[in-house]
Amino acid sequence: MMILLYIIFAVIVGLLFHGIHRKVIARIQTRPGPPIWQEFLHVMKFSFKQTWIPKTASKVLFVAIVPAVIAIWAGALYVLFTGGSLLVIFGVYLLHKITEHGLGLSSGSPYGKLGAIRSVLSAASEIPLIASIAGIYFVTGSLMISDIVAYQADHGILLITALPIALAMYVIILSKVPYSPFGIIEAKEIVSGNKTEHFGAFRAGLEVGFALKTFVLLAVFVTLFIGAMPFWMLLIASLILLLTMSFICALTPMLSPYDAVTIQIGVIIIVIIYMAFIAFAGGMP
């Protein structure tokens, strides 16, 4: 497989998804909105700008964190497309939390620092949501994505049979799309949160990494809970999933940090009750 082509394709599709996301949000809010290729223009714009490292920054960390973001999601993309372990992808999700934190801390800016602290704060509720992968293991008996796909071919799609787990995963992904109600790390009261001080080429690189991240997370959800499908259908299903999230993002205000954590903990409780129910009922319904 030409992994490089997949990565570049995923970057393009991810940027396009971001653009569509913005457009849909704008239309729901009866604004004209930017064109859907706006995010490409963003990347272009940032890469043509002057670039330097702030004097207060921790230089190596400031620069190295950007390739780290791109690299971990490129790796996750490879794991997804080769049907590797789901655990790796959620490992990457947590590594992304670390890079978010590092982004904020590296610059020395108080806004970045605040965003970084919020990213760790939200990790407190997102990490237990990853217990849902234990739920998937409980249901399917495997964590290899290829096995999960095969299980769904035999037993029906997990979106229906394991709805609470899908709900938990949905919340995880929702917390990572732009303009999310759970996106407390880049709320407007702290400027751009942890991305505040990364401008120019660094910001363009970050946008590339985040585009990859959006694509991978959407594709993971579709693959895990709907199953194997041709590539073009995967794209369409991801887009539909994204549109549902666009509606949520357009219609909900951004939550305060403690509300976001509370809601996510509520979802965790639902998942735990569901798993206890499965355990007592002795297997899948």
Binding site: M1, M2, I3, L4, L5, I7, F46, S47, F48, K49, Q50, T51, W52, K55, V63, V66, P67, A68, V69, I70, A71, A74, G75, Y78, T82, G200, A201, F202, A204, G205, V208, G209
Partner: protein, 76 residues
């Protein structure tokens, strides 16, 4: 602690060279993995490391020149 404020910038030529080299590494690794000369995960590992370098160095190469340009025409 007092730090020396050194302004070191990567020149555009250096960035271009880095972009070119990392692009060649990416393409070679993924091609070799595709044709089966090296393990798939090894090729993926190389691409995963080299691709971010490519992206950043490409964007750095594209960036605005550090010299003062012409002042744009600002009004009538």
């Amino acid at each position: 602690m007092i730090r020396k404020e050194t302004e070191k910038k990567i020149s555009k030529d250096q960035a271009k060279a880095a972009a070119l080299i990392s692009a060649i590494i990416c393409i070679t690794a993924s091609a070799l993995a595709f044709t089966g000369h090296i393990n798939g995960w090894l090729g993926a590992g190389i691409v995963v490391v080299a691709f971010p370098v490519f992206v950043l160095s490409l964007f750095t190469a594209l960036r605005e020149s550090t010299k003062d340009g012409d002042y744009p025409f600002v009004g009538y």
